[in-house]
């Protein structure tokens, strides 16, 4: 832990120094930001995006009411300010004037909306669209506390009662109960403002391939499995501190590069300006010789999920045995070069409700064998782990293969691409799968309720199909609870149940890394991870 604090301080210091430089230097316009995506994004339509790769592109094209600063604090974005009334059940947003939808897209083609100004009525329409039962967004339930959500979803009401426009620039959202992290939820990449005309023009299915928003960059081109090109939104509303029009960059080109070795090589060749740093290149990157290096703990958890509805994981003892079988400390220290922290449970350190005294699973192969024998597998068993194609996942899986062999478990590995993986896991077809979750809003609700409540089985996030009434009751109670101390207590009780029932093989909490060329200015690694970065203020000193 101490190491992390030192790193955070180091990064903070570096950022402070860089900030100083940025003030002294006059930003330059121009240039294309060249970057890599680790997979072909499953969705560019933010209403359906549930993963980080999709969000990484979406953050450039679309904008939310409120955003996050690099340290993860909620800051104004399309709402200039907001007030909270009625004990935290009524939110009034004062919208920014002069925000326009993209006027052109895809090589200068005019958009259906014609680049008109965004008003509170657009927000009302968008929230209705996202929460409509016909749209069937997998993330609509993130805002299911909005007044009238149930009625609208079940078809009893024809609109979402809780979202109203008080005038053109004032939006009101009412919730049925005070939900503590509500403002944070609104920073999630689904709750962006959408142009009605363009969605109607393309239809819900095709808008994914012709996304139009208000963000600093406009969509230009998506060559499947090859690249995504964005161009500068010349009518963007934001200005820098000198009154210069933002963004500075002419555009963004994301190349889809699944292989870290190739990504790093491309970075070193100068073909991309930002690279993830895979373990083999960690030492070199950290030395600072190949660019600006960023490292920062990321609120997130890397785990292997058990589908508790499929054999042999219907038996709790098998799931516990797997948890006892792995030596997380050695794994992280040697295979991952210490670039993570061992996971005892679900919640990552730094998050509200994180329980430092939680009793997790220690490394105990004898106990694991004994549990397997009790579960009826005295001679071990054979299982297949499905993971999405990625060198890091493979490297880790192969290390754990040897650990499982020790307790008589033959672990077969099967890799598929990210879209297929997510799809089959969401449909509950995979007994044992790799998965990771990074924070959408910094509250235990985003982990415990979203990932493990029985209402959210499937694409909503409960991929393990975990179903425990006590756990459900605790996480529901915590949603309605206003007192932070009581909430913390409820979440800690709920997490204990998860650890005991072990629907996951808890592995580690993330540390994020990024390596950026020396000529890049204004770049920061956000607390929520590189994928949440917006390139509004980044410029190239070429």
């Amino acid at each position: 832990m101490r190491r992390h604090i030192v790193l955070v301080l180091a990064v903070a210091l570096a950022l402070a120094l860089m900030g100083g430089v940025a003030v002294a230097e006059q930003p330059k316009y121009g240039g294309i930001w060249k970057d890599a995506l680790g997979a072909n994004p499953p969705h560019l339509d933010p209403v359906f995006a549930t993963d980080t790769t999709s969000a990484e592109v979406g953050y450039q094209i679309f904008e939310t009411l409120v955003g996050l600063d690099p340290d993860g604090n909620v800051v104004p974005l399309l709402a200039e300010s907001w007030e909270v009334h009625d004990g935290g059940t009524r939110f009034v947003f004062n919208l920014r004037k002069g925000v326009h939808f993209h006027a052109t897209t895809e090589g200068g083609t005019p958009t259906a909306n014609g680049g008109r100004e965004v008003t509170a009525h657009d927000w009302v329409w968008t929230f209705n669209y996202i929460c409509s039962p016909e749209t069937n967004s997998p993330r609509a339930y993130f805002v299911d506390m909005i007044k009238g959500y149930e009625e609208y979803q079940s078809g009893k009401a024809d609109r979402l009662a809780g979202v109203t426009a008080l005038d053109d620039y004032t939006l009101q959202i009412e919730t049925s109960y005070p939900f503590a992290p509500f403002i944070q939820v609104l920073t999630y990449n689904t709750f962006v403002v959408l142009p009605k005309e363009d969605i109607e023009k393309w239809g819900t299915a095709d808008f994914n391939f012709h996304p139009v928003g208000t963000g600093p960059f406009k969509f230009e081109q998506w060559l499947q499995d090859e690249k995504i090109v964005l161009s500068r939104n010349e009518n963007y509303w934001m200005k820098d501190e000198y009154g210069n029009q933002l963004p500075y960059l002419d555009g963004i080109e994301y190349r889809i590069i699944v292989d870290y070795t190739i990504e790093y090589t491309e970075y070193k060749l100068g073909n991309i300006y930002q690279s993830y740093v895979d373990t083999p290149y960690y030492e070199e990157a950290k030395s600072g010789a190949v660019g600006q290096f960023f490292e920062r703990p990321q609120m997130g958890t890397y785990y292997y999920g058990f589908n508790v509805e499929l054999e042999p994981f219907t038996d709790k003892r098998v799931r516990q045995a797997f948890n006892y079988a792995i030596d997380r400390e050695t794994l992280i220290d040697i295979v991952l070069e210490g670039r993570a922290s061992p996971a005892k449970g679900v919640l990552p350190p730094g998050m509200f409700g994180y329980n430092p005294d939680l009793e997790g699973y220690e490394y105990n192969p004898e106990k694991a064998k004994q549990l397997l024998a009790e579960a009826g597998y005295p001679n071990g068993l054979e299982v297949t782990l499905q993971y999405n194609t990625n060198l890091g996942h493979k490297r880790l899986a192969e290390a754990l293969q040897a650990q499982f062999a020790q307790i008589g478990v033959k672990l077969n590995l099967r890799n598929v691409d990210w879209g297929v993986h997510l799809d089959t896991v969401e449909r509950g077809e995979v007994p044992f799968f790799r998965m990771g979750w990074v924070v959408d809003y910094p509250d235990p609700d985003n982990f415990l309720y979203v990932l493990l409540h029985s209402d959210n089985i499937g694409p909503q996030g409960n991929y393990s199909r975990f179903n425990n009434p006590d756990f459900d009751a605790l996480t529901e109670g915590a949603r309605l609870e206003g007192d932070p101390e009581v909430r913390r207590h409820l979440y800690q009780l709920a997490e204990k149940i998860v650890v005991e029932e072990a629907p996951w093989l808890f592995i580690y909490h993330y540390v994020d890394h990024s390596l950026v060329k020396d000529f890049v200015r204004g770049y920061q690694l956000p607390a929520f991870g590189q994928y949440t970065n917006k390139f509004t203020k980044v410029w190239l000193d070429l």
Binding site: T261, P280, I334, E398, A402, Q403, N415
Partner: protein
Amino acid sequence: MSKQEMVLSSAVAKQYNAEKEPKGRSLWADGWRRLRKNRLAMLGLFIIVFMTFLAIFAPYVAPYDPIEQLIWTKGRAAKLASPSREHWFGTDLYGRDILSRVIYGTRISLTIAVAASVVSLVIGVSLGAVAGYYGGKVDDFISWLTNVIYAFPFLLFVLSIVAFRPASLTLVYIAIGFVSWPSIARVVRGQVLSIKETEFVEAARAVGASDFEIIFRHILPNVIAPVIVQVTLGMGSMIMTEASLTFLGFGTQPPTPSWGYMINQGREYLLSGQWWWSVFPGLAISLTVLGFNLLGDGLRDALDPRLNK
């Protein structure tokens, strides 16, 4: 080249002298005599015998268990250790001994070479023989099929077969065998076409032998030599195909030590300087394929003296 020709021509001369001797010898004995004179072929044979020896006796030859990950017991020191007295070829990320993995890797490569050859032999010989013997429409059809398979990009075709089902060794050699038979079918067909016109086949037919008997008893034994040459030459490329498939993640699955897989994993660490992880299995592949190719060339020269005229 010239040196090899000299060796060969002297072999032919000796054979000529030897043929003056009254005692008759079989094609095989002749072939072996000629092969023995071919130093490159003998080097190839030696490599293959050596690799086969390693494959069979791997548990006795390999200094370590090929899948044991030493990092869990010996810690950081066992990770990516450079070649040393304890680990001649170094260790990989998990502290596995690369020498032992290369030695066990011979098992995979040779199994693939043999098993895929059997598959391609069964398909190639039967189709080739039928095509050559019956001719006409049957021949047209089989030759067409052969050309179709030939025309497909080899690796892509294997990949599309393998992608249908979860990867396994059996699937890999069936797939490789399935796309390798056309060259054997062509050789067999050509041979059968000429042999079926010979007098001893006429004689067999005259005494009432069935087609089946004629093909298997009288024709095929005369086709064995060119088929052996073809198969030996094919084995090298089969090993390469398996390595490529495994490199792409479709072939042998971890932790089974396979050369192609080791190269793929080690590739990640080439940039950071740990060359031994992929270089040694790479050398092993090159050496084995070279062995098969040298022996195949030698066999062709030895068993088909007409080539030298």
